[in-house]
């Protein structure tokens, strides 16, 4: 909402705050000011100039030679505008003036003729985009007076942010009320210059108000609660007087003509949108308010757009056809034009929900629909109508024909809400006396109409009837009027809550810390992905290239890896914990799981003069995957060689994370060339993705093992293992057959080469034996090793290397 500072100041006599101070004030009342601008800030050098004479430039067809009085005697000015008129007033930039864009006016010669200044267009002044001529200003001025003051640009326009519940603040009167309630004065409507002093009478009827040939009828009272129609005859359409134009400009609105400006003025002043119809453009000189009919599915609004209508839209119609989309926009055919003589002025109250659904269906928003959607004051309609009629008669002449036709199927009744002083204290933590509550609420328009047993009966004014309906709404008003900052802020005792910290957070924290400690950097990527990477489609995606939400995190990380490659980053180790979405059937919310993914490329260790700079290998990936699996699932998960071909990992260089029931909850390994687009210098790229348990249990409790009292005996075995035997089976067999004395098994070397038989490799294990209650003798250990070697030979054809 654009608020004119001058307008506001005129409405609150005694208001003595700068625009900046006022902005601070409004922020603390819940209406922060986004921006303060002044259209005239750069136009201080421009004066009003009148053209006294204009002749053809002797040397140029398109130029004229004007005599201009700019307050310092007559000067000659060369002008290129086609619309220059003798006797008209224009913004004039004398020699030495500076225009927006630091454009300096110098004395110059144009085609041989001296030009002592410039007559300006609105574009040159930064006031508009029209460049088709110089800006003619209607009215009477003094040559040389400040242009900015003459047209009211010496104003500050404040862009006030109004929350969705405060439709009543979408007017200068509403904002003024907030300002005035702080003790800055009271709200007064300014006097209209040339106010004819008309006392309107209203002819009210619940169904149809009619007088002579003119009638107003509401057929759909659920969508239109009241409709006032005033007939003004013999108006003369023309430009508004300067003061009215100034007001509108200060509030960021563009003057159009006296009748339209009058309706806009009243909307900006009181918040009531109005519409003027050319009465003679209405068939049967009547208004019927009703829903769209079957045969009326298209309508041209006054902006020239052809709109598609649907059956639930409310239209303002004449006796035959729609002439406006109720509360949204008027129609092209019944618009007030320069030759309009008789008008019907509409002041109506529409159902906010209907306006909202209509303007959403039409994908449009107007000043009127914006206000109706947020609620217009049902008690302010007569005043708005009176102001508009007075303004029109004052600026366009004409006569009011008869009483205002007032069709009112649903009369507004103000609500009275009970407000308990005890409840105020209960919610706000501070006790308020009845007198103070009255003092705080009254300036905002509330009326304390009764008081009994610590309960106040508060009448809610019409303009607050949309957002103040309950006791708690009044309590907010008390808090707001008292000032949030005036409440104490002392931390009191509190009880712990009943909600346990969700175990997923602890698991995620542990995984993050664990991977960060292993040298990985955490990434965050948005969930939106292209087709093929997700099952769940967004119905109204912003980017048509990414209309899905992802089922896996790894592809997003691969894109980030490529981004890093593109920026020359060689060593990239990223991980992310995010949500995977899978379709759960039609109409159902998708199934969600937390996933952890990682992608790795580059050296195992930071570059160091002592290091060989080896790249990350399959064993690094395997250990990382084991770490993730163990953290997420404890002992329930094992990492085994990949069992299935898949689209992401290279067969033979991939692993599965397997649970005891055989289900696979994660994969990792060497990424296939198809899934990543690396530069030529890149090496092997590793990735993993693990589904995290949805409700992780408490971490396993560690049970203490007493430390050994007796020394261990170690034996090294070099075994020739045929290539078709898995190391896992050799290890498992040693452990099973090792007997109770075998404490540990460690693989410390792997050799393949000339010294060992073709088709086998040498695996060297260190076995550690220990007894809990005595020092072992060699004989006992020899016996145990003998058993192991015998079983290895028999079950796996593994022999000891000679």
């Amino acid at each position: 909402m654009n608020v004119s500072y001058r307008w506001l100041r005129d409405m609150v006599p005694g208001l003595d705050l700068s625009p900046e101070k006022l902005a601070e004030h409004l922020a603390l009342r819940g209406a922060p000011v986004e921006d303060i601008s002044s259209a005239g800030a750069e136009l201080g050098d421009i004066v009003m100039g009148v053209v006294l004479d204009s002749t053809q430039h002797p040397n140029a067809d398109r130029l004229s030679l004007c005599t201009v009085d700019g307050g310092h005697g007559e000067v000659k000015v060369v002008c290129g505008a086609p619309n220059v008129k003798v006797g008209a007033w224009y913004p004039f930039a004398p020699v030495g003036a500076v225009l927006p864009g630091n454009f300096k006016i110098k004395k110059s010669k144009i085609r041989g003729e001296v030009s002592d200044g410039m007559l300006c267009s609105s574009k040159e002044l930064g006031l508009g985009t029209e460049h088709d001529g110089i800006l003619e200003i209607q009215g009477e001025f003094t040559a040389g007076e400040s242009f900015v003051e003459a047209i009211g640009l010496d104003d500050a326009t404040m862009d006030v942010e109004i929350t969705a519940n405060r439709g009543d603040l979408l007017s200068h009167a509403g904002v003024a009320r907030e300002v005035a309630s702080e003790g800055e004065g009271r709200v007064e409507l300014s006097e209209i210059e040339g106010d004819p002093g008309i006392e309107l009478s209203f002819e009210r009827d619940a169904q149809e108000a009619r007088r002579g040939p003119v009638g107003v009828r509401i057929d759909d009272a659920d969508l239109c609660l009241r409709y006032l129609g005033a007939v003004i005859r013999s108006v003369k359409i023309g430009p508004s007087p300067a003061w009215l134009q100034q007001r509108l400009r200060g509030a960021g609105a563009r003057p159009i003509n006296n009748v339209v400006d009058a309706t806009n003025f009243v909307m900006l002043e009181l918040g009531q949108p109005l519409h003027a119809f050319d009465l003679n453009g209405l068939a049967g000189t009547s208004i019927v308010v009703r829903r769209v009919r079957e045969d009326e599915r298209s309508f041209t609004t006054l902006d020239g757009e052809k709109r598609k209508l649907t059956s639930d839209m409310l239209m303002i119609c004449d006796a035959e056809r729609p002439v406006a989309i109720g509360g949204v926009m008027g129609g092209l055919d019944s618009e007030v034009e320069d030759d309009t003589v008789d008008i019907l002025l509409e002041c109506a109250l529409f159902d906010p929900k209907s306006i909202r659904s209509t303007r959403k269906a039409l994908v449009m928003s107007t000043d009127a629909s914006y206000r109706f959607e947020r609620g217009v004051d049902p008690e302010g309609m007569e005043l708005a109508m009176s102001r508009a009629v007075a303004l029109i008669v004052a600026t366009a002449g004409g006569e009011v024909d008869g009483p205002v036709l007032d069709c009112c199927p649903v009369a507004f009744e103000a609500a009275t809400v009970d407000l308990r002083l005890s409840r105020i204290e209960h919610l706000l933590g501070v006790a308020f006396e009845a007198d103070l509550v009255r003092e705080l609420l009254t300036p905002l328009g509330f009326d304390v109409v009764g008081e009994s047993d610590g309960t106040l009966q508060v009448r809610v004014p019409g303009f607050r009837s949309y957002d103040v309906r309950r006791e708690v709404d009044l309590i907010e008003e008390v808090a707001r009027a008292h000032g949030y900052d005036n409440f104490p802020s002392d931390l009191g005792p509190y009880r712990p809550g009943t909600v346990a910290d969700h175990p997923m957070f602890a698991l995620e924290d542990e995984l993050r810390q664990s991977l960060a400690a292993r040298g990985l950097l955490e990434a965050q990527t948005p969930a939106f992905v292209p087709e093929g990477e997700g099952d769940v489609r967004v119905a109204n995606p912003l980017a048509t290239t990414e209309p899905f939400i992802r089922r896996a995190i790894l592809p997003s990380l691969i894109r980030r890896l490529e981004h890093n490659f593109a920026h020359g980053n060689h060593d990239v180790r990223l991980f992310e914990i995010g949500t995977s979405f899978r379709s759960a059937g039609s109409g159902e919310p998708p199934h969600e799981e937390a996933h952890l993914a990682a992608v790795l490329h580059g050296r195992r260790e930071p570059p160091h003069w002592s290091s060989d700079g080896a790249a990350l290998a399959v064993w690094d990936l395997k250990a990382l995957l084991e770490r993730v699996a163990a953290t997420a699932y404890g002992g329930a998960a094992v990492v085994v060689p990949g069992s299935q071909e898949d689209d992401t990992f290279v067969a033979g260089a991939a692993f599965d994370v397997q649970l005891a029931d055989g289900s696979v909850v994660g994969r990792g390994g060497l990424l296939k060339g198809e899934v990543v687009d690396p530069p030529a210098w890149a090496g092997e790229i590793w990735g993993l993705e693990v589904t995290l348990p949805s409700n992780p249990g408490a971490p396993e409790v560690v049970t203490f093992h007493p430390l050994p009292q007796f020394p261990a005996v170690e034996r090294d075995l070099a075994l020739l293992v045929p290539d078709n035997v898995w190391a896992y089976d050799v290890d498992a067999l040693i452990r099973i057959r090792g007997g109770p004395l075998l404490e540990g098994v460690e693989l410390f070397d792997l050799y393949r080469g000339e010294a060992v038989t073709q088709g086998t490799r040498s695996l060297a294990y260190r076995l550690r034996f220990r007894s809990p209650d005595r020092t072992l003798k060699d004989k006992q250990v020899d016996k145990a090793v003998g058993v192991i070697l015998a079983r290895l030979k028999e079950e796996l054809s593994v022999e000891q290397r000679g």
């Binding site: 969705a164 802020s489 002392d490 509190y494 009943t498 769940v536 967004v538 980030r560 990223l574 260790e605």
Partner: protein
């Protein structure tokens, strides 16, 4: 002319000696400095120590203590300089100025770090963490939170829909209702999580971002508790001098509603202090009774407050990141800066 205090003379000698040690460019020059100050026969510090015997017994201990201190300082400096002039090769040990060896450094994303800092403060204030689905229904995202779908407030967060009434949550507030449905008061939670809006990527908007929700419900929770808790959070996050300002605002699920602003005090490198402008950090308010009733709570008995903030925005302010999109690029040179 009065005689100079021997302690002042010692301090002057100390400064002079250390300077001479620094200027010595080879072992011979350094040896000369040593003899000059600490030489047994003519060393200038040695001479003062020797002269202690002739001093009055009252002055002797103080001067003696100072002389010994200076002697030690100078001897240490001589030894250090000797080592550095000798270099590693001559002493037969490793060149310990070579870089050390260690594993890669990893770290958490700056937005995660902000979430963690926020969580740790609220944990200390007695909160636990709750979570809910990211794809949720209109009921939980809007209607249960007293936001009718036909009210303009439902527009303010342009929502991404999946199908029918299923949407990607536009705020973490659905977790409020989901938590209240399954738990009895007192409730004292925060709910960090992803939220989604139909926003184009620009410097201050991304269609997905983290939010941290908070909810407190109990008997006797008032507007004063609300203000006090959030002001305490702000002081713990931004420092004890941080001021907090509560401005009236509108959220359908809180009444009264507020925007919370903070004004930080920044200490400049020269030690002087500077106040920042007011920065908007969260939306908050007292839980609307309609929300409590939707959860099946007795709204006459229980009151509470709720709040929501954006850790990415807080991280931007904290680290001086000027474009939100930087957080999503995940360039390792960027992430490395927060390790």
């Amino acid at each position: 002319m009065t005689e100079q205090d021997p302690k002042d003379a010692l301090r002057a000698l100390e400064v002079e000696a250390l300077d001479a040690i620094d200027r010595a460019q080879d072992p011979e020059a350094l040896e000369a400095v040593r003899i000059d100050y600490l030489g047994r026969k003519d060393g200038r510090i040695s001479a003062i120590l020797r002269g202690l015997g002739s001093m009055s017994p009252e002055r002797r201990p103080a001067v003696g203590q100072e002389a010994n201190r200076v002697k030690e300082v100078v001897a240490d400096a001589l030894q250090n300089r000797e080592r550095s002039l000798a270099g590693p090769a001559s002493s037969g040990i490793e060149d310990l100025t070579l870089p050390g060896r260690g594993p890669w450094k990893g770290g958490l994303h700056p937005v995660t770090q902000a979430v963690d800092e926020i969580w740790h403060i609220f944990r200390d204030l007695g909160f636990t963490r709750a979570r809910g689905p990211e794809a949720d229904t209109e009921w939980y995202n809007f209607e249960a939170l007293n936001t009718p779908l036909d009210h303009p407030a439902a527009d303010e967060q342009d929502t991404l829909y999946l199908v029918d009434s299923v949407l990607l949550r536009s705020h973490t507030s659905p977790v409020q209702m989901r938590t209240m449905e399954t738990h009895e008061p007192p409730i004292r939670i925060i709910a960090p999580g992803w939220v989604y809006r139909r926003d184009t990527y620009d410097a201050t908007h991304t269609p997905a971002f983290m939010q941290v929700e908070g909810l407190v419900i109990d008997e006797g929770v008032t507007f004063v508790d609300f203000k006090a808790t959030l002001a305490e959070f702000a002081r713990r996050y931004w420092g004890p001098d941080t001021q907090t300002r509560f401005r009236p605002s509108f959220f359908p699920f809180t009444e009264p509603s507020a925007e919370v602003d903070v004004k930080r005090v920044i200490t400049r490198p020269d030690g002087s202090k500077e106040e920042t402008d007011w920065l908007e950090i969260m939306g908050a308010g007292m839980v609307d009774p309609a929300v409590l009733e939707n959860a099946g709570y007795d709204a006459e008995r229980y009151t509470g407050f709720a709040f929501g903030m954006g850790p990415a925005r807080i991280a931007m302010l904290k680290h001086g990141v000027d474009d939100l999109r930087t957080f999503f690029e995940n360039d390792v040179r960027f992430l490395d800066q927060f390790v």
